[in-house]
Assembly symmetry: C2
Homo-oligomer: 324 residues x 2
């Protein structure tokens, strides 16, 4: 039976076969390093899983799955440059290890490599897959730009925030499913249903990430808690809290946001309490539940095998039960 | 009759039709700005000209020509980030005008847009054109990395330098011809002949640029003379001079290179004199002549119309008589 685990084994094997043994080393070594940093490989697994729903041989989606993973790692690499991030997955980021210029150029080369890998796809759906890939890639850039724009704004609405995470996070998850399904030969109706399922899950996933950053357990979350609060990051919790706050609560929240040199524990505690008092935490939890249920209902309604559904439910659970 | 000028008019028109009127503005406005900075549009014109040699309707190569120009401007944008350049074509660079993060992200979006434009190509040669595009794009990155690597080395050979400019400059010119010819339906023999012609011209063009930076006339060159000398840039002149110098000349050159705070005019004058004394200047001029003649001979030997040959000779003259 096809499972997340045995697809993942193939993804890791295929990724390791991408040939980075070229000159100049300063261009290719950071690409190799970036791809070896690990991760859940969620997107390529989703792509191959989606293909396997409609076709025995999921290897047809091999190059597309690899293109998606290389593209995703390119976005992480350049995001780390823009965020001046020093650590990713417990190791130095490419920009921290190799410097700014090498990080920019290696990222560019990864984007080109992603398109090269994609072009190896041998499928009648290739032109359509290619369109989806470029459109999605552009949307991810749009999401990243909105995210950066939001840093300089204090009036971001929850609606704008949801649109941003749809672009920055959800569309690539959804497109991974869509491209896999297209290569598998799915009907356009099934393709769109899978895409919508991916969008719901992707948005729910990002809101859960916001929740964990503020209310999670450091041991299981694997990151320091409270980073979003300390950097005044516009998250679902913050935009919701600002929209639901009483005048008094809004003033208190604004005063935490305006402190130039707050005591870390005090600010985290203070803002957390406001997220609870305004019920922003509950709203976030309810939003995740509602998106998750909607995704699962859409999945159940799809005309695919029970085995296929089981595989997707497993993947979704894997994605959401990060704290267990 | 098809001429550089009337192809150029179409290129400018088509470029202006690329739709940048999207949100978020901070992503799309820098792309619009970058594409509006002008330039000779040499690469798309070469692509369309090459197509027109083999086919009445050069519009078949429209999307490929636009993809090449957008890709070229993407490389200029990211190169300016890496070089911390403030001015391009007399105007602020994207990084100077919009900041580092926007410049990185807008560049990424331009690379994606280049691939999207390319994918609009409707031609039986499309898969081959796509391969050439990705391979060339990767080579341009390799050339840029070598160029950066050379900054920290003192032992760069002329052979290494020639390989670097082949990758950084010549392959994109050559590939523009190749892709145009492929879309035009040329035989693989003609395609390769045009590619070689482009490589020779591209390398000659870059060596001429090195010569002009050191021995040109500021009024007609349009840039400050001596920039390469002041930054110890590894150019054809410098690698050749170092290889041809007597022990005494090598010591003198090394001492100019090692000065931390030289008087500008003195260093330029001193290094220039060494380029003349070692005959590096003459060698550079002879190299340009030899590459140019070889390119013209290759062109004459090609099985294309006299009118086609005339058009390419005109383009080459336009490229090389920049000082007139």
């Amino acid at each position: 039976m096809i499972s997340y685990e045995n697809i993942l084994l193939n993804v890791e094997k295929w990724l390791s076969e991408i040939d980075c043994a070229h000159e100049p080393r300063n261009l290719y070594e950071p690409i190799d390093y970036s791809l070896s940093l690990g991760g859940k490989r969620l997107r390529p697994v989703l792509c191959l899983s989606a293909c396997s729903l409609f076709r025995d041989d999921y290897e047809s989606a091999r190059w597309c799955a690899l293109a998606i993973e290389v593209f995703h790692n390119f976005t992480l690499l350049h995001d780390d440059v823009m965020d001046k991030a020093g650590i990713r997955r417990g190791k130095p980021t490419v920009v921290a290890k190799y410097g700014l210029n090498t990080a920019i150029l290696s990222g560019d080369a990864m984007l080109i490599e992603a398109y090269r890998l994609l072009s190896l796809t041998d499928s009648p759906s290739y032109p359509l897959v290619c369109d989806v890939f470029s459109q999605t890639a552009m949307q991810v850039c749009e999401g990243q730009q909105y995210d950066m724009d939001f840093e300089n704004r204090t009036d971001v609405s929850t609606e704008e925030y949801l649109n941003m995470i749809r672009l920055k996070t959800a569309v690539l998850l959804a497109a991974s499913l869509k491209m896999g399904a297209l290569i598998g030969g799915a009907s356009l109706c099934d393709v769109e249903a899978l895409y919508e399922y991916g969008i719901q899950l992707g948005i729910a996933f990002q809101i859960q990430d916001d929740l964990l950053d503020t209310f999670g357990d450091e041991k299981t979350f694997g990151k320091t808690i409270g980073g979003d609060i300390m950097s005044n990051k516009k998250t679902f919790l913050l935009t919701t809290a600002l929209e639901r706050a009483t005048t008094e609560q809004r003033l208190e929240l604004a005063s935490w946001l305006s402190l130039t040199d707050p005591v870390r524990e005090e600010k985290i505690e203070g803002v957390r309490n406001l997220f609870i008092a305004t019920r922003a935490r509950e709203v976030a939890q309810a939003k995740i539940e509602s998106l998750y249920s909607k995704a699962m209902n859409d999945l159940r309604a799809m005309d695919i095998t029970a085995e296929g559904k089981r595989m997707f439910i497993d993947s979704a659970e894997k994605l959401f039960h990060r704290t267990k």
